[in-house]
């Protein structure tokens, strides 16, 4: 049960990677740092004015979208246009990840931060099992985000354009659309998802600036296992990871749960790199 709820939350965290790495094929390893940034933003507004963390996450999505669009423009101008994205692009994102983590720890120190909301302490009975709202709410929001992104990609004009850009850029250009603009939008949405995911993260557990490192393996394991860019697959893979991790921490202790994502990542890469629902 705890694993299932954790899975919904992991899906929210991994959506950005699914979109940016899975569909756009941009290895944005700085994504976890954006999630942590979202968590700290939620913390600041929550402790200063007492706003609900998830509301803060939602309100800040336009800001994150802007930052994401800007990052993509720099990335495109410096690397993608010159065809140098593989080596230098990775280093670029690593640099961003690093700068963000260090800046956060310089601003907030390395103490654990957490948020207060009306529901954090409460729980309800579901089928005879006590479920903490602290886990239930992020799971529900995570599933909602997944459904929203799925519908957006399948039903709207820009969503379909993003799917198209992931399949054939040249064809899209022939249709009169600008692939760079579409990718900017998709990248922005991916980063905007990090804002909400960060708010969920800090609702579940306290956060330090180096928490991003724990999530790198999880995010990419889920994206690869789910099949690169498959939104439904992301949710399934997230639930699988969540359940495996909670079983692992029940039987072997919580410190081993990090090894699960790495094992899944390596297994998926070695056996079936296309993932469960890969094309």
């Amino acid at each position: 049960m705890a694993g299932l709820l954790l899975g919904g939350f992991y899906a929210a965290v991994s959506l950005g990677v699914s979109l940016i790495f899975g569909l756009l094929d941009i290895a944005n390893i700085a994504q976890p740092a954006f999630v942590i940034l979202g968590a700290y933003a939620a913390y600041v507004f929550n402790s200063a004015v007492g706003l609900d963390p998830i509301l803060v996450g939602l309100l800040l999505t336009p800001v994150f979208y802007g930052v994401g669009a800007l990052v993509y423009r720099v990335y495109y101008g410096s690397f993608e246009r010159r065809g140098e994205e593989s080596l230098r692009g990775l280093v670029f994102f690593f640099g961003i990840l690093f700068i963000m983590e260090v800046s956060l720890s310089m601003t907030f120190g390395v103490d654990y931060r957490l948020v207060q909301a009306s529901y954090t302490g409460r729980s309800i009975e579901l089928a005879g099992v006590g479920v903490a709202f602290r886990y239930l709410v992020p799971c529900v929001v995570g599933v909602a985000m997944t459904v929203a992104l799925y519908l957006f990609l399948g039903r709207t004009f820009y969503g379909r354009a993003i799917m198209a850009v992931s399949q054939d850029q040249a064809a899209l250009r022939l249709m009169g659309a600008d692939p760079v603009q579409i990718k900017t939008i998709a990248f922005g949405i991916g980063i905007a998802a990090a804002s909400l995911a960060g708010a969920l993260l800090i609702s579940i557990a306290p956060v330090v600036p180096s928490t991003d490192r724990d999530y790198i393996g999880r995010m990419f394991a889920i994206t690869v296992l789910g099949g690169m860019g498959s939104i439904g697959g992301t949710l399934v893979a997230a639930v699988i990871l969540g359940i495996t991790e909670s079983l692992m921490s029940t039987f072997f202790g919580p410190s081993w749960s990090l090894a699960v994502s790495f094992g899944i990542l390596l297994l998926a890469l070695a056996i079936r790199p296309a993932g469960l629902f890969g094309r």
Binding site: L90, G95, L265
Partner: protein, 311 residues
Amino acid sequence: MRGIVGALLVGGLVIAAGVGLAGARVNPYVYFAGYVILQYVVIATAWNILGGYAGYVNFGTPAFFAMGAYTAVLLIKSLRAPLPVLIVAGGLVAGLLGLGIGYLTLRLRGTFFSIATLALSVVLQTVIINWEYVGGSRGLSVLRPAGPPFGSYVTFLFTVMVGLAVVAVLTARFIERSWIGRGLAALRDNEEAAECMGVPTLRLKLFATTVSGFLLGVAGAPFPYYVTFVEPNSAFALDYAVNALAMPMIGGTTSWIGPVIGAVLLGTAQQLATVTISSEMNLFIVGVVLVAFVVLAPEGILGLARRLRGR
């Protein structure tokens, strides 16, 4: 052939100069800081064999470095093995780790290898934290052997690191000039074309990963004797990951001299900076310099120098 003899000669001279400096017994801080800078020469050179020559980015430098360090801890604690054994064993274990990770991920696109190495440090650190015999999360004190040459053990380690740095740089230079280096450069520029031309890409990549991992482990093996207290946070420090990338990127990745320039410049600057500003600020600056170089001067200092000369 003459090139190799010349390089060996220069290497010998550098070692002689290092031993001479150790004999001179100047301010002990020189050896203390010099060790760290030379350690970064080894790390940057090792990283560049895979990253610069083959174009595969390794984010897991701390994992390989710590593999070397913890292999040494294990051998010191169980067998009190001498330093040369520690260095070779540390290198072998880290090299095997490189081979294993490479075997699982290098057949796919380079991005997957990078992501796997990124997660590798976190997982290995978890393993070490849970392993009480080598100190767990609390760490472990290591006693240095008595009666070192040159009066103090740090001075002795300094000369050892001079030797290791020379070996690492000569190895890199040899690889770069041989058919292996040309094969790696070919697969870096266009892997499919290289494969079609008959370059054994997978074998070359595995070779580069193993050698790179070996040298990173070698750099880590004397670490327990240098710090005398090993704990996971210092052995798996993020500093190694970012510096291993930043140094070759700043110096220039296509030649063996690039990482050396980067390591000496950035290493010296950091040694001076840690005295005056906080270590976090220090890392922040390294990160900013790294991004600035990748965006503005992708060929590093070597590329800048070449452009100036070309004008």
